[in-house]
């Protein structure tokens, strides 16, 4: 299993993924034309033919044995450059009066585009076939998530100061978002799914057009809706935990529609980026057996030829990592090449 940039020949494979993503994964609609455009955009990004601000780096997880795509993930170099990027910012207003002996704060949601220009990690999807119990040892989900940090670490100058990730918000037993029901539904003449779908397609000027533009005092929201602010969907909790371990934090920004948190960090503070380091490749016929569950992530240092995969061992003290022929082939490296590695 390895991560690599999506390539122009991946359209069929990507469509298989798009068919499986289902509701709530709006950036990958099952639309061949759309997907072809996406691949082309990404290909040009990796070829560095588009301005650094506009790039969408789209990766796939490849099962190189089966020759099929198992999942995908992406990094958007700078959000909000082409399409406005909105959040609500949960702020606090002091409300006090000496004469009334009143001294409190009121939580307030302010419409904001504060993250304009930040990088975003997004679009992570892993096919169900690759995430069962029998696949746990492959750590495919973590590979998809963390490979991006190695990419950003290696190509740090292509990215801005901050990175963010948007997390899916809370839905109730009926599959409805209480936050949407209490707030968005009053302002948008469409249902959550449709609003979400349009947003996923980047067709989101309607948000700025129809959003309440004055701040919302949260006491006016229902208790159920307030309880959604900054909370994630049950199924998103593991992903959130993984990001939190890297140092991403919730700073009060939430999704306009479902109230889910946006977590963020200064890129240089992200643990994986901070502690990843480079080492030299040495190919051996047979490496000594490592741990059963791989804990080292390795990635190449060439953008067009970016590859990332798990290894069951790290580099030695001299900064050299030994790879088997198979591992070297997977990463497409030769002896003497440089790898960026991360112990997880």
């Amino acid at each position: 299993m390895r991560i690599r940039p999506i390539a122009r020949g991946d359209l069929d494979g990507l469509q298989v993924l798009a068919r499986q993503t289902g509701v709530g994964f709006t950036s990958l609609p099952d639309n061949r034309e759309f997907l072809a455009r996406k691949i082309e955009t990404a290909a040009q990004a990796f070829e560095e033919r588009t301005p650094v601000d506009d790039r969408l780096y789209f990766f796939v997880l490849e099962d190189e044995e089966e020759g099929e795509l198992a999942g995908c993930c992406a990094i958007e170099a700078q959000v909000g450059r082409e399409i406005p990027f909105y959040h609500y910012h949960l702020g606090t207003l002091a409300h006090s009066s000496v004469q009334l002996d009143l001294h409190r704060t009121i939580d307030t949601l302010f419409l904001s585009s504060d993250h304009t220009g930040n990088a975003e990690v997004a679009s992570l999807f892993l096919r169900p076939e690759y995430r069962g119990v029998d696949r746990r040892h492959q750590r495919n989900g973590a590979l998809l998530s963390k490979a991006r940090w190695l990419f950003m670490a290696e190509f740090r100058d292509r990215f801005p100061d901050k990175v963010l990730a948007e997390m899916r918000g809370v839905f109730n037993a009926e599959g409805k978002s209480p936050f949407w029901q209490c707030l968005g539904s009053h302002f948008f003449p469409l249902d959550f799914e449709e609003a979400d779908r349009l947003t996923g397609l980047g067709q989101k000027s309607f948000i700025g057009e129809l959003m309440p533009k004055f701040p919302i005092y949260t006491p006016f929201l229902s208790e159920e809706a307030r309880a959604c602010i900054g909370q994630v969907h049950e199924q998103t909790r593991p992903a959130l935990e993984m990001l939190k371990k890297e140092g991403l934090r919730w700073e009060g920004y939430i999704d306009i529609f479902d109230g889910g948190p946006t977590v963020e960090a200064y890129i240089d503070d992200v643990r994986a980026i901070r502690v990843s380091r480079r080492c030299q490749v040495e190919i051996v016929e047979k490496s000594k057996p490592g741990e059963e569950r791989p804990s080292w992530l390795a990635a190449t240092t060439n953008m067009l030829d970016f590859r990332a995969a798990w290894l069951d061992r790290g580099p030695g003290d001299e900064g050299v990592i030994t790879l088997t022929e198979q591992e070297a082939k997977r990463l497409n490296v030769r002896s003497g090449d440089t790898l960026r590695v991360l112990e997880t």
Partner: protein, 363 residues
């Protein structure tokens, strides 16, 4: 419609006059019986005493344009020698402190992308009503409610304005107590103000009465409130009068007042507004020389509000609108005495009955 007891109303038993210091106990009682309690008539002896002093001063002062005068009137039952009602005129609602209301506004959210246009209702703090003359603080003994005494008390203020136009604004406003539920709670306050002030309606109303409502308004959150986020009970209460004040509101609408976009900041009670020239009492009031005739010789006519031409000794009563062919108003000796007028003096009269006007909605 209104029940009326013509015997009582057409005799000279009831009379409106400026409040005096000796009325203090009566005012205290009236403040206490008001349903609901009125912010602008707090049952607080010091405040009421100030109110009377302030009123005395207003009636006495030479005034060329409206300022911070508050004129307080009382309704006296001369038979029982009791003050049974009170009402106030604030020459400018916001002369000293701004007079705040919530103004109902509509925002348009239009989406080119979706090709839709939505109207979104908001409530925004406003002090626009500050520039109007405010008719307020009316409380009447329950026994007199629904009789012509109520119209006399309410509209005698317009008779006063008719005489002293320079003392009042062109725009007049009346704020009616807002809707309270069976438990005396304000659904509007519970959904709005309470979030910010952590006090119940009664408490805040009391504080506002004793201190000032404007200083509370000034610490209220400044961004407009989105109506769809209020509870349905609160939304239903916007612009809705207290059940006890339905008749009073109807009378003011018949008078020519119109509902405005403004509602009370605490209970969302309606604020009605009317330019003077649109109001029936002011339009139809006319001056007549007095002719005194024995009561039994007066013809049987429609009742009228009749006021003398005095400021500090202002009097207003309900009397028969008995005009002589030459346009003199024929008064019984008793009415003339109560009004303090002699034969030949001019008095102002306006029909008591108002045309029934439909509630035309917002101004």
């Amino acid at each position: 419609m209104r029940e009326r007891t013509p015997q009582a109303s057409l005799t000279a038993v009831l009379m409106v006059r400026p409040a005096r210091h000796t009325d203090l106990p009566a005012l205290e009682r009236l403040a206490e019986v008001a349903i609901p309690r009125l912010t602008n008539l707090p049952a607080h002896r010091d405040r009421l005493e100030e109110r009377i002093s302030r009123s005395n001063d207003a009636f006495r002062r030479e005034v060329e344009f409206p300022g911070d005068e508050h004129y307080t009137f009382v309704l006296e039952d001369r038979e029982r020698q009791t003050v049974v009602g009170t009402a106030t005129l604030r020459a400018l609602a916001g002369a000293r402190d701004a007079y705040y209301t919530y103004r109902q506004e509509t925002l348009i959210h239009a989406s080119q992308q979706l090709n839709v246009r939505r109207e979104v209702q908001t409530l925004a703090l406003s002090h626009e009503v500050s520039d109007a003359t405010l008719l307020c603080a009316l409380s009447l003994d329950p026994g007199y409610q629904g009789t012509s005494a109520e119209s006399l008390l309410r509209r005698s203020r317009l008779m006063f304005i008719a005489q002293y136009p320079e003392r009042f604004a062109e725009m007049l406003a009346v704020a009616f107590p807002g809707f309270l539920d069976a438990q005396g709670e304000s659904p509007f306050w519970n959904s709005v103000g309470r979030h910010f002030f952590v006090r119940n309606y009664e408490e805040i109303n009391h504080i506002a009465g004793v201190r000032s409502k404007s200083f509370i308004a000034e610490v209220m959150p400044q961004f407009p409130l989105y109506l769809p986020l209020l509870t349905s009970q609160a939304r239903a209460a916007i612009g809705r009068e207290h059940p006890q004040h339905e008749r009073a509101l109807a009378e003011m609408l018949a008078e020519g007042f119109q509902r405005s976009r403004h509602v009370d900041i605490f209970d969302a009670g309606p604020v009605v507004k009317g330019e003077r020239f649109r109001l029936e009492t002011l339009r139809r009031a006319s001056w007549h020389p007095v002719r005194i005739r024995p009561e039994e010789s007066l013809p049987d006519t429609e009742p009228a509000l009749v006021a003398n031409q005095k400021r500090e000794d202002f009097r207003c009563v309900v009397a028969p609108y008995a005009l002589s062919p030459t346009g003199q108003l024929m008064l019984s000796p008793e009415h003339a005495e109560v009004l303090g007028v002699e034969e030949g003096r001019a008095i102002l009269a306006a029909p008591l009955d108002l045309p029934t006007a439909p509630d035309k909605g917002e101004l």
